[in-house]
């Protein structure tokens, strides 16, 4: 299968790319790694007239921790995320997710920005970004603005990104002592989207009490979903397994799965419940919590 005809541009700067997007509104798509877009084009599910390749903009590929934030450039390859010592040691939830995105070869092309802004509820990083409270920096003709990840996903393949805007950076609150996260995914085989997956992030105070929690769900609804009640049920406690089980049940209630080739809806809710409980235990341990 060969993609339909398009005109390829590889601008050297973000502003040049935005100019092209503006001039070709509705006809142009941003190409980062192309690991979602090119298959869609080969199947004629997408037929943009122009591709704007941002992968050659060197300034969009970085992982950098400053006093306030972890900043990840939009064109950072998934495998660069996975290989980063900062990510592996301080943001293990992202390393968990990165190791389960598609397969190792796809991760050499696929990018963090593409994964978070494609808008497929099966993408793995969006749930992490919701759970950890990330913000997205997007640039358009009027300059930069930031959008909270939890405000970003409107519907399947529909996001808060305007047609002439480009995601440039993902901003994650800097990890502190007492933070712990985990991402757990059940997949039929390497390379498939999740049957269901769960991202959890906990922050504990010095006594081991949960001061904040985030839980989000992959591929069990039209978009990535927050499990707000499940998360808030943990805050203010020194949680036990019974609390994690109860949070798992609340997370399953928040899921809106459809029955499909990956299993019936009830099965997927059961998976959400179980993965939530397990991920909370893992995140709790990583945060330094003791039972």
């Amino acid at each position: 299968m060969i993609p339909p005809k398009f005109d390829y541009h590889a601008p050297g700067t973000v502003d040049e790319a935005i100019g092209l997007l503006q001039k070709n509104a509705g006809d142009a798509k941003v190409l980062a790694g192309g690991q979602s877009l090119l298959p869609l084009m080969k199947l004629r599910l997408a037929e943009p007239k122009m591709l704007i390749d941002i992968s050659r903009i060197a300034k969009l590929s970085y992982i950098q921790e400053d006093p306030e934030l972890l900043r990840v450039g939009a064109a950072t390859k998934i495998n660069d995320l996975n290989d980063s010592q900062v990510i592996r040691s301080r943001y293990p939830m992202l390393a968990d997710a990165g190791a389960h995105i598609a397969d190792p070869l796809v991760r050499n092309m696929g990018t963090v920005g593409g994964n978070v802004c494609h808008g497929d509820p099966g993408n793995d990083l969006p749930a992490c970004m919701l759970a950890i409270g990330a913000r997205y920096v997007v640039r358009g003709p009027k300059g930069d603005r930031t959008i909270a990840a939890k405000e970003f996903y409107r519907d399947t393949f529909v996001t808060a990104l305007d047609p002439a805007e480009i995601l440039t950076e993902v901003q994650i609150p800097k990890a502190q002592n007492g933070d712990g996260g985990a991402y757990m995914k059940m997949e039929r085989k390497v390379g498939d989207f999740a049957i269901a997956a769960v991202a959890v992030h906990l922050r504990l105070d010095s006594k081991g009490t949960v001061t904040s929690a985030g839980i989000a769900l992959t591929n069990v609804g039209p978009t990535v979903l927050m499990a707000g009640k499940a998360a808030s049920s943990l805050v203010g406690h020194k949680p036990t397994d019974a609390d994690f089980l109860a949070a798992g049940k609340l997370a399953a209630e928040a899921a809106q799965p459809a029955s499909d080739m990956r299993g019936p809806a009830e099965f997927k809710k059961g998976i959400v419940q179980t993965l939530t409980r397990r991920a909370l235990h893992l995140a709790w341990g990583r945060a330094g919590g003791k039972s």
């Binding site: 299968m1 192309g34 690991q35 090119l38 591709l51 390749d53 397969d103 070869l105 050499n108 390497v190």
Partner: protein
């Protein structure tokens, strides 16, 4: 889609759509060729350059038969545009043997019977080469993880794992 239905692509073939000049170094040989923007890297290699060592399997990013190294990293060339490789280095299975001597990974696949039908083998070997360049002494788990994007329907993977271990041992760090 059956491979017979894929149009033959040659430089400047009347496929329609915009074209551009790309500069791609394949197995250390620089090429400057006009391609359609929509030409996939795998078709550039197989049809434009006539290098048919790289296989087309599923054509849907699943099987890894089309794996080549792009700037030393294994990628699925059915899901990369030739224009995305512009200015970059590609290494294919044809580039493994050197001066009549097989690459340690090729020796390993031979010695350990790492293939039956051979369809997945070029991709499997390219992934193995990249793995050993990064991690000269991988554990079995690391090998299995590294090749998890390359499907083999014959061997059950046992002999492929042994072939890669053989290569690692033989070369003390295959490059």
């Amino acid at each position: 889609m059956a491979s017979t239905a894929i149009p033959r692509l040659t430089a400047g073939a009347p496929m329609g759509g915009p074209t551009r000049m790309v500069h791609i170094t394949v197995n250390d040989v620089p090429f400057a060729i006009e391609v359609q923007d929509r030409t996939l890297l795998v078709h550039f290699l197989r049809d434009t350059l006539g290098m048919t060592g790289t296989h087309i399997g599923c054509d849907t990013t699943h099987c890894g038969a089309c794996t080549v190294l792009l700037d030393d990293r294994p990628v699925k060339s059915c899901t990369v545009l030739a224009v995305q490789a512009d200015g970059r280095k590609v290494r294919t299975v044809e580039g493994l043997e050197s001066g009549g001597k097989l690459h340690p990974v090729q020796e390993g696949f031979t010695a350990e019977h790492g293939l039956q039908c051979g369809f997945c083998t070029p991709g499997m070997m390219m992934t193995s080469v990249a793995l050993l360049a990064k991690n000269p002494n991988p554990t079995e788990d690391e090998i299995r993880h590294a090749i998890s994007g390359n499907l083999c329907r014959c061997t059950g993977y046992m002999n492929i794992v042994k072939a890669i271990q053989h290569a690692a041992k033989a070369s003390g760090g295959a490059k």
